[in-house]
Amino acid sequence: MAFWDYANPTRFLRFVQVVLPWLTGLCLLLFAVGLYMSFFVAPEDYQQGDTVRIMYIHVPAAWLCMMCYSVMTLSSIGTLVWKHPLADVSAKSAAPIGAAFTFMALVTGSLWGKPMWGTYWVWDARLTSVLVLFIMYLGLMTLWRTMEDPIKAGKAAAVLTLVGALNLPIIKFSVDWWNTLHQPASVMRFDGPTIHPDILWPLLVMAVAFTLMFFVLHLMAMRNEILRRRVRALRMRAASAAQPGPAGAAQPAE
C-alpha cells in the first residue's frame, strides 16, 4: 500500500524529488492562466466594479487555509492513531503554510472590505472564526517551537489540532448560522454554484493553482523537516562519539 511505502523517509524524499518539478511547473502555468483570466477575462461586477478581482485570491486563500487545517487534522489522526512516522512531519510543516494562507485571506478580505463596507474589520462570525484559525495556527507553531523533543511535541500538537478542528465547521457555516456582512457561499453549495461561468472559471483555475502551490510548499517543507530530524539524530550521535583522532592533549598528565 502506497501510504505505508512512504513511511520510509528516504523513499519519501525520492518521491518528492521526482514529483516536485512537475508540480511546480503545473502550478506556475495555472497561476499564469488564472491571473490572466482574473484580470482580463473576468468582467467587472455591476455593483462592486473592479474590486471584485480581489475575490480571485481572497476566496482560494480562504479555501486553502481551511484545507490546510484539514490536512493537519488528518495528519494528527495519523500521528495518534496510525502512528505513521511522517504524520507529525506533515502536520508540523503544514502549520506555517496554513498561517500564511490565513494571513492572505484576512489581508485581502480586509482590503476588499474597506471599499465595500467602509471598514477594514468587523467582528462578525466569519471574520472572527478565521482570525481564531489564524491564532490556532500560530499557537501550534509556538507549541512546536517550545518543545525540544519532536516526538513529544508532535503528540501534544496533534491533540491540540484535533480539538481545534471544531473551528472548521464553524468557519464554513458561520455565514449561514449568523447574520453577517459577509456574503454567503456561492460556489460550494449543495445545489450547484450560483455565479456566472465567466467569474467561476478564473476562480476555479486560481483555486487549483493555490492548491498546487500548497502541495509544492508542503512537500518542500516536509523535506526540510526530515532533514532537520536527520541532523538532530546525527548530532546526538556526534556528541556521544568518542573524540576523533589521537587527542594527546586529552590524556591526563601523570
Binding site: 477594514y120 462578525d124 482570525l131 499557537g139 509556538t142 517550545t146
Partner: protein, 223 residues
Amino acid sequence: MTGWAMALFQRDLRLSVRVGGSALVGVLFFLAVVTVIPFGVGPDLNLLARIGPAILWIGALLATLLGLDRLFQADRDDGTLDLMLMAGRPLELVVLIKCLAHWTATGLPLVVAAPVLGIFLNLDPVSMAAVTATLLVGTPALTLIGAIGASLTVSLRRGGLLLAVLVVPLAIPVLIFGVSSADAAIRDPVPFLTPFLILCALSLIAAVVGPIASATALRFASD
C-alpha cells in the same frame, strides 16, 4: 558597551529566540487578548474605537507580565545566577541588561504588533500612531518594574501569579499615563505631550529603581 555586557545581551537574546525560548509567545497572547475583548464588550466598532487604546495597553501589560516569570528563574534553576553573583560585574547593570534583552525579545514585538491589532479595534491612523508611540516608551517601564517582581519570586515554584499580583499595583501609573496620552492624541484640546513626557520619565525612573531593587532581592535570594 563593554564586552561582558554585549555578551550577556547576546546570550539572553539568543536564548529567547531559539527553541524553547518565549520570544513570540507574548505577541500571540497579546493577539489573543485583543481578540477576546470584543466578545466581552460586543462588536460595536464605535465603542471599540473609543476603548481601543485601553485594550491595547491592558493587553500589552498582561503579555509583559506573563513572560516575566522566567526572567531570572531559568538562570536560578541551573545555577547560572550563583555564578553571575560571583562574576565581579555590577549586579544592577546585569539586571538592566537582562531586562533590555528581554524587552527586545518580548516587548518590542508587542510595539510592532500594536498597529496591526489597532485595525481590529477600528482605530484611526492618528490614535494608532499615538498608541504605538506610548507603548514604545511605556513597555520598557513595565519590563523593568516587572523585574522587581521576578526577582522577588525567583525561588518560588509557581511564582507567575504572585508576580502579577505584586507588579500590577506598581504598573498602574504607567498604565494611566500611557492610556491618557494615547487618548489625548485623539481628543484635540488635551495636549499629548504632557502625559507622554511623564510616561518617558516613568520609564527612566523605572530604569534606575527596577535594577537596584531587583539586584538587592536577588542577593537575598541566593542563600
